[in-house]
Subunit: 458 residues, 2 copies
C-alpha cells in the first residue's frame, strides 16, 4: 500500500490538472445545445481511462453515452466484483452573473477548485479512478474486479441508466456498488451514508360550490373549501409533530441504540442551524434530535396550497375549490403504496360531507437501508478512517437517491455511499467548488477500500 | 290615486318602448370606448325627465355625468324631501356569444324584456320616473319633493358619487333615500331589504425558512409554513360553525323574534339550493336557517390560499411561506376596525413560534340596519303590498351596498331598498332581462310610496 500512497502523493499536481481538464467540458445535460460537449467530455474520460490501463468504451443510449471502464480481468482468479458509479454531466451554470469566475474555467483558491461539476460529480469519481491508476501504474494487484459506470444524465433524472443496467445485468452483477456523489457533514469528518428516506406524493382537491361564490350573498350558508382543506390537513399532524394517520408508523424500523449513538456524534448547533434556515425556531417530532428528524423519521409535508383568489388586494368570494400538494417522506421499512393507501383513506374518512374530495396519488420511491454493521459497511468505515485519519460517522440521508434504488432493484446490489462533498461546496449553485484535501482523501479512500472489501487489508 | 293607476295602465306600451330606447344605449362604464354612449344615454335621460315635467340637468364629474332631476318645488309648502337613486351605466355585455339576442337590441319574449341593463338598473329606476310622470301629467299633487340622482359609474364602484353627495349635501338633505337596485326573492313576492352585512378584509402570511427547502434534506427538522397556516386557520371556526375569535360576537345585535319570523317566511328549499350551488351538502352556523346564515350572521371566509408549488406534478419542498386572504362578513352592530383588531390579535396569539406571522388588515365596510318597524319601513311595506297585491317579506342582504353607506355617512339618510329584480334576471350575466310585470308593479310602487311616506295615503 505504501507505493500506492506514494504514487498518489507524487502525482497530486497532475491529478489536479486532470480534474481541471475534465471540469472544462461544459457537460450540461439539461441543455440540448451542449450535446456535443457531453460527447466530448465522455470521450475524454474514455481516453483517460484507457490511458491509465482500463478497458474503456462509450455505450450509446437514447440520451448521452455512458462511459464503461473495467479493470483488466485476471484469468482464473475469481475476485469479488464491484461497480463504481459516477456521472460526468453537470447542472446548468446559470445564473452566470453570480459566479466569481467563469464556471467552466477552473480556478484554484486556497484548497478549493472552483468550477461547475468539480464537486458534483467529476472530482469525486475521478478520485476513485486516480486510485485505480495508482494500483495499475505501481503494478499492485487489485484485490477486486472493478467496473466504472459513469453516466451523462444524472442531472436530468438518469433517464437511460435503468435500461442500461437491465441490458448489462450479467456483466454488472456485483457484490456492491460504490458511489461518492454525496456529502460529508463537516471538513475532515468522513461519513458513510447507510440509509435514505423514501417518498410518496399525493394531491388533494376539495371541491365545494360549482363556481366561486359571492361571499356576501352566499357566505355562511355553504362550506368554504379552503377552510375545509385547512381543517382537514390540520388533523394530519399531531401536537407531538407526528403524522396523525392510523397505521402510519406500523412498519417503521426503529433506530437501534448503535445508530442513535452514531447520529448523536454528528456535529450540530441548533442556533446556527436555525439561523442558516432563517427560521425563528426549529420544529420537529418530539423525542428525536434534528438529525434524526430530518433523516431517520417520516414526515408529512404540504408542498403547495392553491385556492381562490391569489392576486393583489382582496376578492370577496367563497372559492369553488382548494387543493394541496403533499409529499410524505418514508423511512425503512415503510412501503410507498401502503402509506399512500393509508393517507388517502384517512383523508377521505375525515373529509366533511359538505365538500367532495378528489385525491390523486402520485409517484413513490422506496426508502433504503444498508445495515451499518454489515461487513461491507464496516469495510467502508475502515477505509474512510484510513483515508481521512479520523473515525467516520454514520449518516442517514433525508432525501432519496433514485440510482440507489435502481441498483438494488435491477442488480440486487446494495450501495456504499462514501460522499466527499462539503456542505459549502455549492452543488447546483453558483461558485461550485471541490476541496482539494477531499480530492486527495478520496484517492486514499479509493486505494484503501478494495483491500478492506476483499478482506485482504493488512 | 285612481287616475294615476289609470294613467300608468293606459301608457304601459309606451313605457315599454321608452325602456327599450333607454336600453339601446350601450352605456358600459367599464369600457373607455363607450364614453360617448354614456354621455348620450345620460342626455337622453335628462331630456326625458324634462319632457315629463322634471327640472333636470347633467352634472359633470371626473367620470361620467350624474343626471339630477327634481320635481317642481311648490312655493311656501314644506313637503318632505326624498332622494331616488339609480344608475344608467351597465355591466359589460361580454361574452357576446352567450347572448341569444344582441345585448343592446331589446327583445321582448313573453313578459321578459331582454337587454343589458334592463334589470340592472334602467328598468327599475325608470319605473319610479314613470310613476312621477303619472303624478305630473294627471295634475295630482305629489305629497313629497323628490330628487332623482341617477349616476353613471355604479358598475365601476360609484367613483364620483361620494364627492357629488358632499358638494350637494344641502340640496340633497332628505328624509330617506329610495333605491330599487336589488332583488326580490321570487316572482310576485315583494320585499323590503332592511339590513346589509358589512365586511372587513385581511391577509395573513406565515413565513418560515428563508427559501423553499428540499423536503428530503431538511423536512422534519423545520416547521412547514403551509401546515402551520392550515393549523392556525383551522382554529378560526369551531364545530358549531361559529367564528372562534374571542369577543367576535360581542356586538352582534340579535335578530328579534319579529325578524326571525319574517325571514322564515322567505321561500327556501334546501335541496334545490344545494343543487343550485352544486354542493353535496349545505353548511352553516348551527341554530340558524340558511337565510339567517347568509344574511344575518357574521362569517369568516378564506378567499384564497397560496403556498409553495402550484404547477403540474409535484415538487418536494418545504415552502418558505404560506398566505391566506380572508374576509369577514359583519352584521349590525359589529365594527370593522374592532373586528379586524380582534382577529389579528387572535391569529398572532395562536401563531406558533416556529414561523413569523405578517398580518395586513385591509378595507372595511360598515354593516347597515334600517329598523323594519320604523315608520318609513312600514310605509315602504304598505306601498309594496299595494303595488304587488301581496304581503311583502322583509329581507336582509348578505353583501354590502357601498352607496347605502355613503348616503348614511354623507347625507345622514337611511335607505329604503325596494328591489324589483328577480333571481333569474341574469344581472351581470349574458341574457339579462327585466320582468315587465315587475316594471308595471314598480310604477305602482312608485305611485303608492310617496303618500305612504308622507302619511297622506288613504
Amino acid at each position: 500500500m505504501n507505493s500506492i500512497r506514494d504514487y498518489l502523493a507524487a502525482n497530486e499536481a497532475r491529478f489536479v490538472d486532470e480534474l481541471c481538464a475534465y471540469v472544462r467540458f461544459p457537460s450540461v445535460s439539461a441543455q440540448p445545445n451542449h450535446r456535443a460537449d457531453l460527447q466530448a467530455c465522455a470521450d475524454w474520460l474514455r481516453q483517460h481511462c484507457q490511458a491509465i490501463g482500463l478497458e474503456a468504451s462509450l455505450c450509446p443510449t437514447s440520451g448521452h453515452p455512458i462511459v464503461l471502464a473495467r479493470t483488466p480481468r485476471s484469468r482464473g482468479r475469481n475476485k469479488p466484483h464491484y461497480v463504481v458509479y459516477g456521472h460526468y454531466d453537470v447542472q446548468p451554470p446559470e445564473p452566470f452573473e453570480l459566479w466569481k469566475s467563469a464556471p467552466f474555467e477552473p480556478r484554484i483558491e486556497g484548497r478549493s477548485l472552483y468550477g461547475r461539476g468539480a464537486s458534483d460529480n467529476k472530482g469525486q469519481h475521478l478520485a476513485h479512478i486516480n486510485a485505480v491508476e495508482a494500483y495499475l501504474r505501481t503494478g499492485t494487484e487489485l484485490p477486486c474486479d472493478l467496473t466504472f459506470v459513469i453516466e451523462g444524465e444524472e442531472e436530468v433524472g438518469s433517464r437511460s441508466l435503468a435500461e442500461f443496467l437491465k441490458e448489462r445485468r450479467q456483466d454488472l452483477r456485483c457484490e456492491a456498488v460504490v458511489v461518492s456523489d454525496n456529502g460529508m457533514p463537516a471538513p475532515g469528518l468522513p461519513a458513510l451514508t447507510y440509509a435514505l428516506r423514501g417518498v410518496a406524493a399525493l394531491e388533494i382537491k376539495l371541491v365545494g360550490p360549482n363556481r366561486d361564490l359571492h361571499s356576501g350573498i352566499f357566505g355562511g350558508s355553504v362550506d368554504n373549501p379552503a377552510m375545509a382543506l385547512c381543517q382537514l390537513l390540520a388533523q394530519m399532524r399531531d401536537r407531538r409533530g407526528r403524522v396523525a394517520v392510523p397505521g402510519f408508523y406500523d412498519d417503521v424500523l426503529p433506530l437501534t441504540s448503535y445508530e442513535r449513538k452514531q447520529l448523536a456524534r454528528l456535529p450540530f448547533n441548533a442556533k446556527s442551524y436555525a439561523r442558516f434556515l432563517g427560521v425563528p425556531q426549529l420544529y420537529g417530532e418530539r423525542g428525536h434530535t434534528s438529525w434524526e428528524q430530518r433523516s431517520a423519521r417520516p414526515t408529512f409535508e404540504i408542498n403547495g396550497l392553491t385556492s381562490g383568489y391569489q392576486g393583489e388586494g382582496s376578492k370577496t368570494i367563497v372559492p369553488s375549490w382548494a387543493s394541496a400538494k403533499i409529499t410524505v417522506r418514508l423511512v425503512p421499512n415503510q412501503q410507498p403504496a401502503r402509506i399512500l393507501r393509508l393517507v388517502k383513506k384517512h383523508l377521505e374518512h375525515l373529509c366533511p360531507p359538505t365538500v367532495r374530495a378528489e385525491i390523486k396519488t402520485g409517484h413513490g420511491g422506496q426508502p433504503y437501508l444498508f445495515s451499518p454493521t454489515s461487513p461491507a459497511a464496516q469495510a467502508g468505515l475502515r477505509a474512510l478512517k484510513t483515508a481521512f485519519g479520523r473515525d467516520p460517522v454514520l449518516l442517514r440521508e433525508g432525501g432519496s437517491i433514485p440510482i440507489v434504488t435502481d441498483f438494488k432493484r435491477i442488480l440486487g446490489a446494495d450501495t456504499l455511499l462514501l460522499g466527499l462533498a462539503l456542505p459549502d461546496d455549492n452543488a447546483h449553485s453558483p461558485n461550485e467548488k471541490f476541496n482539494l484535501d477531499n480530492y486527495a482523501a478520496g484517492m486514499r479512500l479509493g486505494a484503501a477500500l478494495w483491500p478492506e472489501l476483499a478482506g485482504t487489508a493488512a
